[in-house]
């Protein structure tokens, strides 16, 4: 996928995340499609593009929300790099592993975002982490697994009887 397509996909994901994702919320928790996209990018294209796209997506999220500008940009850039360092070389083809990486990435995202969003109030951080972060991360991981399986089915090359693709 070339860079223009990736940017286009990133914009579509951002628009869905900001405008429509709350419609599938469970107990106030929504999957984070931007994290799923970043994990896919890191595993496919390496950390540099993922960090850049992560920064841009986070920045757009900050503009679309009433959040502090730079909060999501920081979190998404760091998580893109973190995922590339930890998860890039292990089991990139295993869907369950990708789901686990999405879960860990969501947790890392919230570990960065929560202190800023709660102005470093420890009580609020702990409550928000157990109230939202864990469930959101689990939800994102499940949605991520579904998306990865779907993408794999769609992009799988069919082996013909003659031996060619």
């Amino acid at each position: 996928m070339n860079v223009v397509r990736i940017v286009f996909v990133a914009l579509v994901v951002f628009v869905i995340q900001v405008t429509a994702i709350h419609r599938i919320a469970i107990a106030g928790c929504t999957p984070d499609l931007t994290v799923i996209l970043l994990v896919a990018l890191v595993l496919e294209r390496g950390p540099v593009l993922a960090v850049v796209i992560g920064f841009l997506l986070g920045f757009l999220q900050d503009l679309g929300n009433a959040s502090l500008l730079g909060m999501n940009a920081l979190a998404k850039s760091v998580l893109a790099y973190g995922v590339s360092r930890v998860g890039g070389g292990l089991l990139p083809e295993n869907v369950l592993f990708k789901g686990f990486i999405v879960f860990a990435a969501c947790i890392l995202n919230d570990v960065i975002v929560l202190p800023i969003a709660t102005s470093f109030s420890v009580g609020e951080m702990v409550v928000s982490f157990f109230r939202y972060s864990l469930l959101s991360a689990l939800y994102s991981a499940l949605v991520g697994i579904c998306i990865f399986v779907l993408l794999e089915l769609l992009t799988r090359r069919v082996v013909r009887p003659g031996g060619g693709y």
């Binding site: 628009v15 995340q17 900001v18 405008t19 429509a20 994702i21 709350h22 419609r23 106030g28 928790c29 929504t30 390496g46 950390p47 540099v48 960090v51 850049v52 992560g54 920064f55 986070g58 920045f59 757009l60 999220q61 900050d62 503009l63 679309g64 929300n65 009433a66 959040s67 502090l68 500008l69 730079g70 909060m71 999501n72 940009a73 920081l74 850039s77 760091v78 790099y81 590339s84 975002v113 929560l114 800023i116 969003a117 709660t118 102005s119 609020e124 409550v127 928000s128 109230r131 939202y132 959101s136």
Partner: protein, 284 residues
């Protein structure tokens, strides 16, 4: 040259990360400047059509159910209004006798939620009314149950509303029964704390809190929440008063922006409603 080669060839990923982190920190340290407000306004304008489209999807069943509930509510409110009009007239006659200013009522602008903050830690929504509908920053936002929040930023066709459970919002509230005043601050979920209530003050479980109008941030008299727990702070001089919000802040759909005041006997909205009823009867 060596440095550039070291940064952009050997350690490109780390360099890109460092630049991104540095930019993010710079953005975090920059306040709410006019350029940032403009960028937020542009984002809002670009997202507005998508929000309108996604917001218009609803199942027929839920619409039918909602319609039935609204009809029942309209009947109840008609009766309630008649009763209140009688009280209102009596009250204004008495206020006139005491040489007090005549009562006014609020003017509302209906609006719909078209976007919720994509982060569960930033409690804000976007509604489909903006500068083109004369909405201004600072206006209170309510639903039929009570206060919901305050307009924080106005865009051409939409506005951003900070909800009561946003950390930056505190509301001066009064107990409707005893008129004890305190500051309402968010605790978690739909629960709040009423701060600065002395041990001897008359607040009991079940009391309803309304906006006090002090500080002029929120208009007076809107219901906010119900007291559900009171405990004495150990060794302190204050009570710990816990309050449940009347409006369910995570399931907001149709809201009203309080745009100003009108005379008590201004029946514009009711006239419109009656015209609508007549039109529907003729159509049948």
């Amino acid at each position: 040259m060596h440095l550039l080669s070291f940064l952009f060839e050997k350690h490109l990923d780390k360099t890109v990360l460092a630049i991104a982190v540095a930019l993010a920190i710079v953005l975090l340290s920059v306040g709410d400047q006019s350029q940032i407000r403009a960028a937020r306004a542009i984002t809002s304008v670009l997202l507005y059509p998508v929000n309108r489209v996604t917001g218009s999807f609803a199942s027929v069943e839920s619409l039918k159910q909602e319609n039935g509930e609204l009809r029942a509510m309209v009947v109840t409110l008609y009766q309630e209004r008649e009763r209140l009009l009688q009280f209102g007239e009596e009250r204004n006659r008495l206020r006139k006798l005491l040489d007090l200013k005549a009562d006014t009522f609020h003017r509302f602008l209906s609006c719909e939620v078209i976007e919720r903050s994509s982060s569960p830690y930033v409690h804000s929504i976007t509604v489909d009314r903006g500068a083109s509908d004369s909405v201004r920053a600072g206006m209170a936002v309510v639903n039929y149950r009570g206060l919901v929040g305050r307009v924080s930023q106005v865009f051409p066709w939409s506005s951003q509303v900070l909800l009561l459970n946003n950390k930056s919002i505190s509301v001066s509230c009064a107990d409707r029964r005893s008129r004890v005043v305190g500051m309402l601050e968010w605790d978690r979920g739909n629960y709040f704390r009423l701060e600065y209530v002395g041990k001897e003050e008359d607040v009991i479980v079940g009391d309803t809190l309304i906006t006090s109008g002090l500080g002029l941030l929120f208009p007076k008299g809107f219901p906010v929440g119900t007291v559900f727990q009171i405990t004495d702070e150990k060794g302190g001089i204050a009570k710990r008063v816990r309050v449940a919000s009347l409006a369910s802040l995570d399931a907001l759909e149709e809201l009203f922006i309080v745009t100003g005041e009108k005379e008590w006997n201004d029946t514009g909205l009711l006239d419109e409603l009656e015209k609508f009823q007549v039109k529907r009867t003729h159509a049948r």
